[in-house]
Symmetry: C2
Subunit: 379 residues, 2 copies
């Protein structure tokens, strides 16, 4: 690789998008989605105009659900929903549905930008949200050890975010909450590794990072949680009608769901399941952390080593100027989306499921070259 001097991306270069907000999709999914716009194979119907009361719609929802159950070994006492509104709507639906007795506390763990946002919406329900741990004073450089937070035995539920995309922090294991329902925003590492569903009461994940395109959010909810939902919340924000109507309470975003179906097929048939996916994920992250750790301080990782995310690799260079140069040079080589989140700055390389190992290798190679050329400027 030779660093370019020109100002434009040569169209012959590969293009790797490391954006944190929205992930890539595998080429096979792109090509099958393209085909489905014309016709869902064998149906003469475009996936953009599927009637939500048709058998075709039901078949698509059923296969997507079945594939998710297979990939994650989801037990029968969990329902799988395909909803609109993103994780942001779940920030509100969760307290509306699950915080029934407002004399009970709810426990939230604050490990970064996004888990903080979730709390604001719970506080709209009632002010006394209980924060069981807060990494803010340490500038969100790590997640807590289990002995650092204490679950209130009366809590209606405990909420946390398994992978903080902005700061690049990841929990290796679910929080230990005993009988208290554990609610997890898994938007950025859902389907990136096998998990033990039985540890959770509710999992939610928007599609646009690991499992599809923006416009649909997967919610996995344990059956017993449905028993206590209050009756006075807006119907569309109540989990029960979505469970009863099997995600067709109103017209679902069927094309977005179809893309999730294609991704689940890819995970099952091309990748061979989540154990394999997790291996790829570890491999990709190791490439970038190696470049950081062996850079003698040229690249400075944001997260403490034991809290590092395998999904979002966040780091700084010596100065904002050098970071800008890093981003611009990378872009000219077809490496895009490296800007850190606007709240934090710096560099963020996101390694969602669809980023191929070659992409991480290409970026690692670039990091080495860039360091070689600019190491004199690191002070």
């Amino acid at each position: 690789m030779t660093l370019p001097n020109s100002n434009s991306i040569a169209t012959s270069l590969p293009l790797y998008n490391f954006s944190g907000g929205v992930g890539l999709l595998p080429p096979t999914v792109i090509s099958e989605a393209q085909q489905a716009i014309l016709e869902v194979p064998g149906t003469r119907i475009s996936a953009l105009v599927i009637n939500h009361r048709s058998q075709l719609c039901r078949d698509i929802l059923d296969e997507t659900e079945k594939n998710l159950r297979t990939l994650l070994t989801i037990p029968d006492n969990y329902h799988i929903l395909f909803l609109q509104g993103g994780a942001s709507l779940q920030f509100s639906m969760i307290p509306m549905n699950l915080w029934v007795n407002k004399n009970q506390p709810v426990d939230y763990l604050v490990s970064g930008y996004w888990s903080s946002k979730a709390i604001k919406e719970a506080e709209i329900e009632k002010k006394n949200v209980n924060i069981i741990w807060n990494g803010k004073a340490q500038k969100f450089v790590r997640v807590p050890r289990p002995d650092e937070y204490q679950i209130d035995p009366d809590a209606a539920y405990v909420h946390y975010y398994s992978n903080e995309t902005v700061e690049g922090l990841q929990f290796e294991n679910p929080l230990e909450t005993g009988d208290i329902p554990l609610v997890c925003d898994m938007s950025s590492d859902f389907l990136a590794k096998p998990i033990d569903i039985s540890k959770y009461a509710l999992i939610y994940a928007h599609a646009q990072k690991n499992i599809g395109a923006a416009g649909v959010t997967v919610v996995i909810i344990r059956d017993d949680l449905l028993e206590c939902i209050p009756d006075n919340i807006p119907t569309i924000l109540d989990y029960r009608p979505h469970v009863e109507m099997k995600s067709i309470y109103n017209t679902p975003p069927i094309f977005a769901i179809y893309v999730v179906l294609l991704v689940t097929r890819w995970l099952l048939n091309d990748i061979g399941g989540l154990t394999n996916m997790a291996q790829q994920s570890q491999h990709k992250a190791a490439l970038l952390y190696k470049a950081i750790d062996e850079s003698q301080g040229f690249y400075r990782g944001h997260a403490q080593v034991d809290s590092r995310s395998l999904i979002n690799v966040v780091f700084n260079l010596a100065t904002p100027n050098l970071e800008r140069q890093f981003i611009e040079t990378a872009e000219r080589l077809g490496i895009i989306g490296l800007e850190g989140h606007r709240s934090l700055g710096g560099i963020r390389a996101s390694l969602y499921n669809s980023m191929p190992v070659e992409g991480a290798l290409y970026l690692q190679n670039f990091m080495l070259e860039f360091q070689q050329q600019f190491k004199g400027q690191q002070q």
Copy 2:
């Protein structure tokens, strides 16, 4: 046309989908959407993975907004939002945002299945929803004349549905409400004809009938309504952050919005604007109503003549048996989606914007042939 005896649709036949729930898309939009899955022209980025903080996302939103302003002559004091959750979420957001003083009444007009549904969600906010007219006793066969309903001068707003898709009823003109804000669900006739935006305070329309694919809902809201929204509603259900962030408060369903963009381009460039669209719409509806009116009672229109919808043509045959035969025979000729809504039964032929005139002609022709063959069975 010869009526078929076989049980399968020959794949050489045209396929016309008259479904009421989800409309078609023009062939040019299908083909451009297909292209965009691979690459939004000139960008090397798939429309499925556009980052919501990128200039490309902003450009797509801005052009879609500009096209809507051109098509509908939308004044500057109206905001245009692209939201998730369908019309069903608007049923709740409207009272949450606009029914500020609960001592004020809100006025709802009940002209059919869908306007009834909207009321249930307003009643979750407070029980005293004021029903200014209700067509239920007459089995929803017509919309009211202006002298049949009275607006409460203290009402926070008036809500109605401009085209009842289940019963096939349409208001020719907006309700006359003077200074009281008029809120209109326009999901099924949005962009089907020119309208005078200044008559409305808020218009909402999900995309899947006339303007795109399921997954995005357009909201047009007059600026002064934003001033009174209460501060204690969930952020994502508050119109203001969506206005402030120009529809990027959270990750928007960008591919669904891209399809709306393609439809607005088609309306501007291929159709030549909404006056032309309205002419097509009238022409298509006239073909089917002619077949009904000249059938000597073989086909029985549901709506009174002066309330007939140009969008959803709803009718019965003499017996449910004959209706089933009608639907099944039509399917074998490539005419699908004719089942009436599950709440009403009978036949419904929906003529959303993308149904070509040839489709309506093909169905008219089939209606004549079917009548000819089965007219002996009408008792």
